[in-house]
């Protein structure tokens, strides 16, 4: 469980390409934070604050102040295929965007876009959880630019932050039968880092509630699969 940075806020950035579900993933984080806060209030009211140890992290973010959630999104004019960055700020946040070098964790649904947002925003102490499946830009498809080598992207992320956890989440989603749950797999992996200021149950409950009709079960599987992969990568030291 993390502690808040100097501004009393935990900053998460979800990076991806339009159509990958990054905005939904970001909103799940924001909603989970509010749900967690409500849980804290409830336990405080019945005198069991200590019982839920993990929820303390969310209170640490802003001692004595109500928890604020801010989500700032940047995306272009394209309906599909454009770069999308969502800054999710939990704690005592006011501004919609993280300050430079301020992201505690980047959840990267696409490697190139993860690097693009990590350069200005990743904290030197920050962690990247990144899907290695490329979403090739039109510039490359038309033969007018080259996609950077995956190794160099991961090495660059490593130089910018403290830790990189990388795996092919799109393939993992396809194994579960639906490429669209890639974003949930990534949320699971991010949750396994212990850096998110909400506990696993709150995240699961929020995902179940926010998932499109009829997909709650599949999304639960995806969340667990993401956790499993990230945990096994951490154990085997396969994280770069």
């Amino acid at each position: 469980m993390s502690t808040a940075n100097s501004t009393g806020t935990i900053n998460v950035i979800v990076a991806g390409v339009g159509g990958q579900g990054s905005i939904l993933a970001a909103h799940i984080l924001g909603k989970a934070a509010i749900r967690q806060t409500a849980a804290i209030r409830q336990t405080a009211a019945i005198g069991q604050t200590a019982a839920i140890r993990q929820t303390a992290a969310i209170r640490q973010t802003a001692p004595g102040r109500p928890v604020k959630v801010r989500i700032g999104e940047t995306y272009g004019a394209a309906m599909r295929g454009g770069k999308v960055f969502s800054h999710v700020r939990i704690g005592d946040a006011r501004a919609p965007l993280t300050a430079e070098d301020g992201a505690d964790i980047i959840i990267g649904l696409e490697p190139l876009e993860t690097l693009r947002v990590a350069i200005p925003y990743l904290s030197p102490e920050g962690v990247c959880v990144v899907n290695t499946a490329k979403y090739i830009p039109a510039d490359v498809k038309m033969g007018r630019a080259g996609y950077p080598e995956m190794d160099s992207i991961l090495a660059a992320l490593k130089r910018l932050g403290r830790q990189v956890i990388s795996f092919d989440a799109t393939a993992a989603a396809q194994e579960l039968g639906r490429a669209a749950v890639m974003n949930t797999i990534m949320l699971g992996a991010a949750s396994a880092t212990g850096l998110l200021p909400m506990d696993e149950k709150t995240l699961r409950d929020t995902i179940a509630e926010e998932a499109p009709a009829g997909t709650a079960e599949l999304n639960m599987k995806a969340f667990d699969r993401g956790r499993e992969i990230a945990q096994s990568l951490s154990k085997t030291g396969a994280k770069s």
Binding site: G8, G30, I71, A77, G81, P96, I119, M142
Partner: protein, 672 residues
């Protein structure tokens, strides 16, 4: 049913809401009776959510044909005593300007709220245009929220304030407030039971009659007499905040979103309680006494705001008036907060730190690392979607243009809509103005458009180029169905009337797609989902006096090319209506029926690359860079690439299209 406004939740509940939804919720909590809007990013979700909520909550909400019509309808409702709201983007306020500056002369009876979402950094706009000074032009109150939660409160209270002042109230949002999300505490939903009322005596403030005595100047005097009431409200407004720092000589005044960045900067620099702090939720007029108090206490005052140096200029005026000797600094004063683009916390830190005698944090080694890594990035240019009908329209135009003389320089004028992406370029290319002597050829659909100004301007500009005698190439104007009815009708009439050899392509994809697929006048639906008449662009054009109106299907490239070539044999303004429904909307109804059937035969494909400039994001060179491949996840089976390939190496199923179900009008989108 989706409940973006959390109408089913109990008051007091905390919810994470999109800024625009929070603004919309404020209107519902205030018991709004009528809502109008024209879609425009970043404002569209306000009316979208209100259209969804309208029938259940018992108010009227509509997408109007443009912002001028929208503001007139909302004003009409306010004149008969009902609570109305009109929402638009910054450019929309320009369209609505005539009414916006005139209604205050008459005053209103019912609460009238004008929500304008500006777009600093022009993420989705032709300009960065700051709407706040227009509140001064109209001599009305302008509120400016720092986030969605405050925005909800402002919209809610704006109706009461408007009724008290008998004037419209403007609420100015920006992209990051409208498109950002924040936790919001839901309030009670108030039902305001009211019957529309009107009376014929000109003396009533809501009934301004420009002809009748005593006339315009008298009404302007009346408007100015309201101003002290506005000022009195502002002085006590809960949206302004003043926290003095005893003994401090440095102050910060920050408005709207600027206050969010400024607060974080102050905190980061450890200046909380050490600088005088004035947060403004009102952008016009300013709370003069509060500002004067800060000015009197400071040697230096930093103004932080999103947009132009509007607050800064007003604060300087107050300083002059009160004889303050304080240096007022900000965007207009050479600090590292430029007058263009958006501000952020880092810019405020960099500006504030030296004023406070602190060093702004800087790490040259990290900066060098970032520069090194940035150089290795590759761009991701904006594209049209896979299967977009505009791809077919542009390919047909490209083929027709390629048959013209080699030295021709055609001018392609674009209106505002998805199709404008044909002018965005491929970012990987670096052109320089030193190369002006060369004849440039568009290498792909994304380099075709030459001008993209504002809604309704393409046709007029094309007409002007023609009447000025431009003869080095063809002159084309391109607009969509929604923009056709938004701003092009007068231009079409003018082209029919005044002449000029212009080809006007209208790409009818049946939706206002770029702003999120709101219904357009051709959809056959209105905002709340009910069926409606589907307006016919061909018949409308003819009725406006255009003699030659041709038709083609966007999913049949040959039909487009032939229609354009035919148009060029005709004199005067010629309209070619190219129909084909937005593929994303079509897929929402037909996802189940679509199979990945578009395939490249690797034996036939010789890697000539002729298909790549089509610009479909599903098409690309394979890993070896030698043959075309189709991304089976992205492909939406439109079949356009098969029509483009010269070697019949791409096979596709015949295109299936059909019109919107709710629409009563015959299908013009069908290809075959």
């Amino acid at each position: 049913m989706k409940d973006d406004l959390h109408l089913a939740a109990r008051p007091g509940t905390e919810a994470v809401m999109l800024g625009n939804h929070a603004l919309a919720r404020g209107a519902v909590e205030a018991g709004v009776h009528l809502v109008t809007a024209y879609p425009g990013t970043p404002s569209s979700e306000i009316a979208e959510a209100l259209c969804d909520a309208a029938s259940e909550q018992g108010f009227h909400a509509q997408w109007s044909t443009n912002e001028k019509v929208a503001i007139d309808i909302a004003a009409g409702a306010a004149l008969v005593g009902m609570r109305s709201l009109v929402a638009m983007k910054s450019a929309g306020l320009n369209v609505a300007m005539d009414t916006f500056v005139t209604v205050p002369y008459g005053g209103v009876k019912g609460g009238f709220v004008v929500v304008v979402a500006d777009d600093p950094d022009a993420h989705f706009s032709s300009t960065e245009h700051d709407s706040r000074p227009l509140a001064k032009q109209a001599e009305i109150l302008c509120l400016e929220p720092a986030d969605g939660g405050e925005g909800k409160e402002m919209v809610r209270q704006a109706f009461d304030i408007s009724e008290k002042l008998e004037l419209p109230v403007m609420v100015r949002s920006v992209s990051r407030v409208s498109h950002g999300s924040a936790n919001v505490t839901l309030g009670e939903i108030r039902k305001v039971q009211r019957r529309p009322h009107f009376n014929k005596h000109y003396g009533f403030s809501y009934r301004w009659d420009v002809y009748g005595p005593p006339g315009t100047r008298f009404r302007h005097e009346w408007l100015l007499r309201q101003f002290p009431k506005i000022q009195a409200y502002v002085d006590e407004s809960p949206f302004n905040e003043l926290v003095m720092a005893p003994g401090g000589r440095l102050g910060v005044i920050a408005s709207g979103l600027g206050s969010a960045y400024a607060l974080e900067a102050i905190r980061t620099l450890g200046l909380e309680g050490k600088v005088h702090w004035c947060k403004l939720g009102v952008a016009f007029p300013l709370p003069e006494k509060k500002v004067a108090e800060v000015l009197a206490a400071c040697d230096t005052l930093l103004v932080v705001e999103e947009g132009i140096d509007w607050i800064e200029t007003l604060v300087r005026g107050i300083a002059q008036k009160t004889g303050a000797r304080c240096r007022v600094t900000g965007k207009g004063d050479g600090l590292p907060i430029p007058l263009y683009g958006e501000i952020n916390t880092d810019m405020v830190i960099a500006s504030l730190a030296p004023l406070a005698g602190k060093r702004a944090p800087a790490d040259p080694k990290r900066k060098a690392l970032k520069d090194e890594l940035s150089a290795g990035l590759c761009p991701r240019s904006s594209t049209l979607c896979a299967g977009c009908p505009h791809l077919g329209a542009y390919w047909g135009l490209r083929q027709a243009l390629q048959k013209q003389g080699k030295d021709s320089v055609h001018i392609l004028n674009g209106d505002i809509g998805c199709y404008e992406q044909a002018g965005y370029g491929i970012f990987a290319e670096n052109l320089s103005s030193a190369d002006d002597h060369k004849v440039w050829k568009a290498q792909s659909v994304y380099e075709m458009l030459d001008t993209i100004y504002v809604m309704g301007s393409a046709l007029g500009m094309a007409q002007g180029q023609s009447l000025a005698g431009y003869d080095r190439g063809k002159i084309v104007a391109i607009a969509g169905d929604s923009s056709f009815f938004h701003g092009n009708l007068p231009a079409v009439a003018n082209a029919a009337w005044n002449g000029g050899n212009v080809l006007f392509m209208v790409l009818d994809n049946r939706w206002t797609a770029m702003t999120g697929h709101q219904p357009s006048p051709t959809t056959g639906r209105v905002g709340d989902g009910r069926s409606a008449v589907s307006l016919d662009i061909v018949e409308t054009s003819k009725a406006l006096g255009v003699k030659n109106v041709l038709q083609a299907s966007a999913f049949d490239v040959k039909s487009v090319k032939e229609a354009i070539e035919k148009a060029w044999t005709l004199e005067g303004a010629v309209i070619v209506v190219i129909s084909g429904e937005c593929r994303l909307q079509w897929l929402r109804r037909h996802r189940k029926d679509v199979r990945p059937v578009t395939k490249v035969d690797p034996d036939r494909c010789n890697g000539c690359g002729i298909c790549l400039p089509l610009g479909c994001p599903a098409l690309g060179l394979g890993p070896d860079g030698k043959k075309t491949e189709i991304d089976q996840i992205l492909c939406n089976s439109c079949g356009l690439c098969a029509q483009v390939c010269a070697r019949q190496a791409i096979s596709a199923a015949p295109v299936e299209t059909e019109t919107v179900k709710a629409g009563p009008v015959k299908n013009e989108g069908g290809a075959k």
